[in-house]
Amino acid sequence: MSVVVEGRNLIRDYHIAGSLMRPAKTVHAVKGISFAVERGKTLAIVGESGSGKSTLARIVALIDQATGGELLIEGKPVDIGKTRPTREMRSKVQIVFQNPYGSLNPRQKIGDVLMEPLFLNTDTPAPERRDRAREMLVKVGLPAEHFNRYPHMFSGGQRQRIAIARALMLNPTLLVLDEPVSALDLSVQAQVLNLLADLQEEFNLAYVFISHDLSVVRYIADDVLVMNQGEAVEQGSREAVFADPQHPYTRELFAATPVTDLDAIRARVARRQAMRAAAGG
């Protein structure tokens, strides 16, 4: 079993400068989190909005520096504050951001978006770059003809798939996905989740998968880490967490998940009709 990424007691504080009106303050976004992900496995991170998931994701993806603790990639400690990650290291770890539109340059055609990582990080010749980008577009369910379109010409879900395609261009060993399917309709969601499962099988990829959707987590995760206010309040195998959630926040998550149960819909519709009748007099 080889561990691809390991976090040891990771900490991230944000210091917000003060002003005349307001004293400086520190936000403790991540307060000492430890985890390990093996090759070919998926760690899902769930948790309340603002609990530090994206912050942790950026640290794991080597774009933000932890304030404390240690990050190891394939057993080697990495500190981007001391040494810039090498091209090879950069290719190994890729991230899909929570906000796909913000992470796409509006003036860059989609084809260029996909070819750019190859251009920057590898010596792949131009014709091959083009072919691989086209193949990848098709893999994420978009027609190859969209190669020359700009980001604003796509729907929300289509842009999300472009962001996933870009992250996959360098054949990473670790992919950090920050809410990758939450903007997608069910059928595209299924398509993307199946694609991720296929790629994981084919390339033995490790995923750190952030999601607030428990049904998705149950489908994709091997291990689950539940965050609340910067801390890991629950951590374990998917089976254990789903069978017997320990922390009140995890239980609350289960309770608040909407259901498509027919009796529940019937009851709700009846309640609304009664309320309308009462209001209408």
Binding site: Q98, N99, Y101, G102, G157, A183, L193, H212, D213, T260
Partner: protein
């Protein structure tokens, strides 16, 4: 009592490779106090049809419709000035991709107070107080502190809640919410949906909810409209839709729910439709 009526809406985009029909003859209507959910395939024209109603599409879009009225007023023949009196006040929208629709150079407080002063006519002081109140209602922690935060200093779900607060700030008569809770965990999603339903019941606000979450549909909608490739496939009251979906695409959507996964791969619409087509 139709509040918004759209008949035979078509939206075409001119692109380098010719014209592309994103919305193909769609009807939408919503009554006062009603919750209409619009669901459908990614790229099926859900956002574009609502942006067309708001008059917010770029110049490359050609919009035609047989009718587009809000509360009896004709949106199509209105001057841009008249339209601005309605859009942003009586009709507001929570945009998909909230983080991209906040201005990165201004604090959240500045942006919502601007809306409250310009579109709700509040004084600077009243706007500040109301902003704090709204931030509280959408469950933002430390509402006063958040007024002074820039978008990049907030998490995804926090930005989304700022957008929601801005959209309900003017007590609109119609709120169009495009995937409003995608960045929120279920506990906060529940809080937001409860808040919207409460507003809706108190003020008679109509709500058009674009969502891919069938659970959210089941728990909020009165009526559901299913779109596929720019066309309306099916329209039904919420119970009938779940109980007895008529259209193969709707059945496919329901079977793509992760909780309905069979084996180790999820059913996709394409595979489902293929399967259904076989005798």
């Amino acid at each position: 009592m139709a509040l918004l009526t759209i008949r035979n809406l078509t939206v075409r985009f001119g692109t380098s490779t010719g014209s592309f029909t994103a919305v193909d003859g769609i009807d939408v209507h919503v009554d006062k106090g009603e919750v209409l959910a619009i669901v459908g395939e990614s790229g099926s024209g859900k956002s574009v049809s609502m942006l067309a109603a708001m008059g917010l599409l770029p110049d490359t879009a050609t919009v035609t419709a047989d009718e587009m009225t809000f509360d009896g007023r004709d949106l199509l023949s209105m001057t841009p000035r008249q339209r601005r009196q309605i859009i942003g006040r009586e009709i507001t929208m929570i945009f998909q991709e909230p983080i991209a629709s906040l201005n990165p150079s201004f604090t959240a407080g500045y942006q919502i107070e601007e809306v409250l002063r310009l579109n709700a006519g509040l004084s600077r002081k009243a706007a500040r107080a109301r902003a704090i109140d709204l931030f509280e209602q959408v469950g933002l922690p430390d509402p006063e502190g958040k007024l002074k935060s820039y978008p990049h200093q907030m998490s995804g779900g926090q930005s989304q809640r700022v957008m929601i607060a801005m959209a309900i700030a003017t007590n609109p008569r119609l709120l169009i919410a495009d995937e409003p809770t995608t960045a929120l965990d279920v506990t906060i999603q529940k809080q937001i949906l409860d808040l919207l339903m409460e507003l809706q019941q108190e003020t008679g606000m109509a709500l058009i909810l674009i969502t891919h979450d069938m659970g959210v549909v089941a728990e909020t909608a009165d009526r559901v409209q299913v779109q596929y490739k720019g066309k309306k496939m099916e329209e039904a009251d919420v119970l009938s839709l779940f109980e007895n979906p008529q259209n193969p695409y709707t059945r496919a959507l329901l079977s793509a729910l992760p909780e309905n996964a069979t084996g180790d791969r999820l059913s996709t619409v394409a595979s489902f439709l293929e399967h259904e087509a076989q005798p």
